[in-house]
Amino acid sequence: MSLEIAWLGLLGLMLAGYFVLGGYDYGAQMLHPFLRDEHEESKPEKASGGNAALDAIAPFFLGNEVWLVAFAGVMFGAFPHLEGTLLSGLYPLIVAILAGLVLGNAAVQLRRRARGVRGRRAWDALIVFGGAVPALCWGLVVGLLLHGVPRRADGSFHIGFGEVFTPFVLVCGIATILLFAAHGAGFVALRSERETAAKARELGGKLLLGAGAAAVVALLLTFVGSGASMTNRGVSGVIAGALVVALGVAWWSFTGGHEVRAFVATCCATALPVLLVGAGHYPYLLISSAGHGLDIHDAVTDDATLKILSVFGVLVVPTILAYQAWSWWAFRGRTGLRHPSYF
């Protein structure tokens, strides 16, 4: 396996990690007004504004968002030529994602510092906004990358309303926002007290039906030729099939009350779109709507730089995975017992 493929794999791992971990954050953020623990209304903690969904994600929240930063960092380090083209090309969407992210992220951290109920309501609205906007926009980005972007002769591209407001891209956006919401529900179901968990399971099942329906529409659009135009049809078919299976298993587990299985399935479903973009287009990282596009050799950094980065990567990546796993283990179990709440 060559170094550049290993780094492409790492880039994919970072983005997939972000979709899985950031995805449940966004889901829990979007659903948090609907997942209040009813017992809390009468408890004194209500005055301090505790919320079951936010308590569920709290200890992992700061460690989840950084997967996106690491994705950007790896892209800049290993694929600088992709970074410059991709981010400036997707300018409006990236700005929207960042704006949502900044507001939502700050709101989650500062919500409990608000003095009164009104202040907290304002933060609550920002928390929902900051979950919904990135989730929707990442879906649009995935849709655009699957479909191809309008590259010019010099390799740069710009997206406008015409590219984003196509049925396929919009359907991808809707599928992603619903999927992230369901995934968040799955996480809350796993971490909250029984009653909240039951409510989250019910919500998750309904949301998955919506996500599944949108995904089927996206597939149909692809079959009639106005959807994704994949480079590797066979591989893409297998991954798309796996995605449908994951959605099905997740729905079945939600309705059957199997929380762990449901969450594992939604994890797969949120990670698979990244694999679909990567493996489905390989060796291209960006495809053009008219013909081929930017391939891995155009995008990758110089060999000497890649070797140096690899020395660090071999040491650092396992370390990252180890301490992230440690943090998941340290805060395992349902919230409420010996879990200090702060966010």
Partner: protein, 433 residues
Amino acid sequence: MSAAELARLQFAATTGIHWLFVILTMGLVPLVAFMHTRAAYTRDPAKKAVRERMTRFWGQLYVINYAVGIVTGLVMEFQFGLSWSGLSKFAGNVFGAPLALETLIAFFAESTFLGMWIFGWGRLRRGVHVTLIWLVCLTAYASAYWILIANGFMQHPVGYEVRGGVAYLTDFGALLTNEMSLTALGHIVLAALTTGGLFVAGVSCFHFLRGTKETELFRSSLRLGTWVAMLASFFVVVVGELQRPIIERTQPMKNAVLDNSGVAEVQRRLVEQFGPGDYVPPQGWIHLSMNAMTLIGNTISTITFIAVFLLWKDRLVRWRPMAWLMVAVIPFAFVASVAGWVVREMGRQPWIVYGHLTVEDALSHVSRASLIASCTVFIAIFVGLAVTNWTLITRFAVRGPDATQLGVTEPLAEALPEQPTGGSEDKQPVPAF
């Protein structure tokens, strides 16, 4: 405004506001880590309780401040690709590596460990919990190192060669030991410690002025803050001066502007070297910023030097004008540090990579309309968040240790039998005095 000016404004606003939170993060985290260590290993239960309250009080202010630091940091990571794709085209092979390593080695760990520290009160073993805050501190400083390696390359490129209009990395060691990076790192680390020390000392003075009952907590904080600020502010001036000979060697134009002599002569030489163009950075801004930084730096150094002597027998807080001065001086440290960045970054204009690529040439092909929209969105959000965050920091600083929410374990936990995962040390009952 032209597209280039808008993109510069957007970048400057993001970096500038990010920095205002970073400097306090870097200044407070070692102090919080020190307080936490001392609290964790104190035996006397009454003293231990005070020191733990102290850690949680300052720790919470640090964590509130961190919220805006991390979100602006997220945006920073994307700024280069959004508006300066020319930079990644020319220098991506060299410049991308330190940024990638910063995210993987430092940012990732800092954020994960901080999350664990915030939620680890009463849940993690004492030694582990203290280690976490030191790891947060270490990675915060590692982050500063890698960012300054990237910044140093823009100021004074080293360890590379240009082939076919693209820079290639040839000497990684040279890149990592760039003198332009290391002296600046020393300067900003000391500036951050000065700011952190002043913040702790000033807030403590405020509580004494209001007749706090928590005298032991705030006396101890005041001592720590004043000593740190005094030592750091003395050396920040010294290390700042160390940068001048390097600037003289590597950036003749910045040097000429700072000396206010020979600007026309250097302009003529640069035209000979790089072709026609305006190589003079905005002189008014640089002079103003340099003067502000120098004046504030020396004033802070003097005030804290006097303050250290006044710590004896609490004279510092008994002499009210001096105590108010310690409160009033807090914002000036932030002003001085931003002024320092203005000198460094404006003084490098028109270059984005000194001597190779100009800011104009590095601009992405993004339309002016998109830039106006994104600039407005980002600046509105960042200014709004910064003001909100400072209001919250002030409110919690003023309310004092009683209002601390960080590390408050739920009453439920007390009633339960000991769980195998928690440390028993943290749960000892504290006699009330």
